[in-house]
Symmetry: C2
Subunit: 411 residues, 2 copies
């Protein structure tokens, strides 16, 4: 986890913020699965101002259509999510997503229009509503500020780690929180949302600024993660604000807004990083940092190009300092820039080493390079020496297990 001054990591994930409870149960949605939780709920004691972002894929899961409809007034109070089936490109998807909201609303005694819905899993198979009908009342009863871990487990698919983060910080002398959880391991592309992510806060903030903050931080975090370049059909991020921290409501882009944006960044950036680390089959997290680029767009394009390259990813799986492939991936990034001043360094907890200066290789110890690249967190530092803009992107290595997982996923 990357720490930020003034923000303390706390337990509780989505329940760290005042007013929120969560839960997760085993419903048996994927036939034969009776050991893993697969149905999650997040609930707030108050109706929440809510911002959301969805996939840019033209194929959109039914839950996205229903959630968009329910968010028209900008408010939500609960989220219901299943794993094991994406409820996408299948018969009656919208009706089923609606019924999921209705079931949750009934159990929670709120309006169905205040319930958002998410689904993740295989695309194109009918989602059986029966196990959900049976288990929603139990799920609603299980809600607790201590159960965010159950909810995280219930949204996992090929994820191997629970991904939840929460921070505590001060604003106008009040204790405030931002917490979040997400799932995502494959079908991850830096092109809008890239996963299911649920973020909660008790900070009071105007709707317009809540949306603006989410868009800004999303661009710097989830949009900078790549596992395999496939943009999912179901990517959704919801950001709910209970306002229960009782801070003076943020209504303009002042110091308090900045404090909130940084808290959101601390949560979403760490979730994004953990998503890359947990990429399907990955053995290591790859962080590409681009500095001194002529524009921010070019810096981002280069960082994403490097972490998305199958050849760079396969080389790093073998801890092979094949910097030529890194330079090649820089070279096909979009935008107009000079390659001849570019330098590349490789770094990890084991040290740092320059492998390329002015766009050409320099001699270095292959043994030391292998030692650096054998760590489970590796940095690729690119310096364009032609401006002042920078960007960071996160990815992972390409391994036998990525192929294995995805050759076997459906059957």
């Amino acid at each position: 986890m990357v720490k930020f001054k003034g923000y303390e990591f706390v337990d509780g994930g989505v329940c760290a913020a005042e007013g929120f409870t969560a839960g997760g149960v085993i419903a048996g949605i994927k036939a034969g699965n009776t050991t893993k939780r697969d149905l999650a709920m997040i609930f707030c004691a108050e109706r929440c101002k809510t911002a959301a972002l969805f996939t840019s894929n033209k194929v959109k899961g039914a839950p996205i259509l229903v959630s968009k409809e329910h968010l028209k007034d900008g408010y939500a109070q609960a989220i219901i999510v299943n794993s094991g089936n994406a409820n996408t490109c299948n018969p009656d998807g919208v009706e089923i997503a609606k019924e999921m909201c209705e079931l949750a609303a009934e159990a929670l005694d709120i309006s169905a229009e205040d319930v958002l819905v998410g689904s993740t899993g295989v695309i194109g198979q009918k989602l059986d509503i029966k196990p959900i009908r049976i288990m929603v009342p139990t799920l609603a009863k299980s809600l607790s500020a201590k159960n965010s871990g159950d909810a995280v487990e219930a949204i996992m698919t090929t994820d191997t780690r629970k991904k939840e983060v929460a921070v505590e910080f001060e604003m106008n002398g009040r204790k405030c929180h931002v917490g979040g959880m997400s799932k995502g391991s494959g079908m991850i592309n830096p092109n809008m949302a890239t996963m299911l992510a649920f973020i909660t806060t008790d900070v009071a903030i105007a709707q317009e600024l809540l949306e603006k903050a989410l868009r800004k931080v999303n661009a710097l975090t989830y949009n900078m993660v790549c596992v395999d370049g496939d943009t999912s059909t179901n990517d959704s991020i919801f950001l709910m604000s209970s306002g229960l921290a009782k801070n003076k409501e943020i209504i303009c882009e002042d110091k308090s807004y900045e404090v909130f944006v940084n808290a959101l960044y601390a949560v979403m950036m760490n979730l994004a990083r953990e998503t890359a680390r947990d990429g399907e089959g990955a053995t290591k997290l790859i962080e590409c940092i681009v500095n001194n680029a002529p524009t921010e767009e070019i810096a981002r394009s280069i960082a994403k190009s490097v972490i998305s390259s199958s050849l760079v990813k396969a080389a790093l799986f073998a801890a092979d300092a094949n910097w030529g492939r890194i330079l090649c991936a820089i070279g096909y990034a979009e935008g107009d820039f000079e390659i001849d001043r570019t330098s590349v360094e490789l770094a990890s907890a084991k040290g740092k080493m320059t492998v390329c200066v002015d766009g050409a290789g320099i001699s270095f110890s292959e043994d030391v390079a292998k030692e650096i690249l054998s760590e489970d967190e590796v940095k690729i530092l690119v310096d364009l020496h032609s401006g002042e803009e920078s960007a960071v992107a996160w990815g992972c290595d390409l391994t036998f297990d990525y192929v294995k997982i995805n050759a076997e996923y459906r059957t």
Copy 2:
């Protein structure tokens, strides 16, 4: 090989066209390699009108810089190519590429400005000119119209098959030929050239039309192939015309031009297909055919999106009819189109099966689907039902061996 009426496949590869000879020798360019040919030459008895296309990567191999310089007058008479080292991002690359041309020119008694050069292999290591100096005279002496196979072998890197094609056809009562060879297995992206390819013809044609034909056919063939989405730094296609078929020179876009363009398509399309089939680690060729799209750009974007998807590729490795991933990849293709009328069929020598209608799944036999997808050539047929444009792209499956090859390539 896909046949075209009026064009007969003949032996000889780049030597099928009148005037051309070729050869390939073992120079030992990659240290320790003394068993595989690694230095190739193509020569024409006449100076040839020559068209070329190069990679769009901002990192360009030294051979590209030198070949561009030598092609300023539009003429060439010989090509020298090595495998085992890309001569890219390394010290003295341009000097070494120039010396390769000078060595060839001296041995062939022609001008160095009439020699083009290509290199393929590892990026960023100094290319040792010494073995090339020693072997160029032997290579020049070995040139023969029967030796195209040696030349093809000498440009292979991770390729497992020799890729050469030639066709014979009639024009104004004269026998004409187009022949070609190419290498490429990894670092293959449908974004400009995508490989080393050398095409020869004896058709007499104006320089401007030679270039136009190459651009047009390249867009339909090499630009529609994807193995791993990495755009190489050394992609080059050279098209040389000896004019020795003695046809009436093609000077406008008449019937004869069309006959020539179709011959070029028959050669480059089959080379492109074979490149996809021979993708690193591939067990099968995947052909995606998009029909009834609103624009050609959209048709191409969808076809490329499907064959580039890591998830589709991994599913097909397992012969798994995971059509949801196909629809997902269609959905993130560029352009404005409706997904709701899209149908998807899977086909091979074993039969054809519809798996998706109007953007949603239909029930089908998983067993029959697996039988269809277990063939070594598989077709994905996408129909948008919203226009008249079409496109074809070629790719391959993503396998354990892709990872193995690329985790071990350099070391």
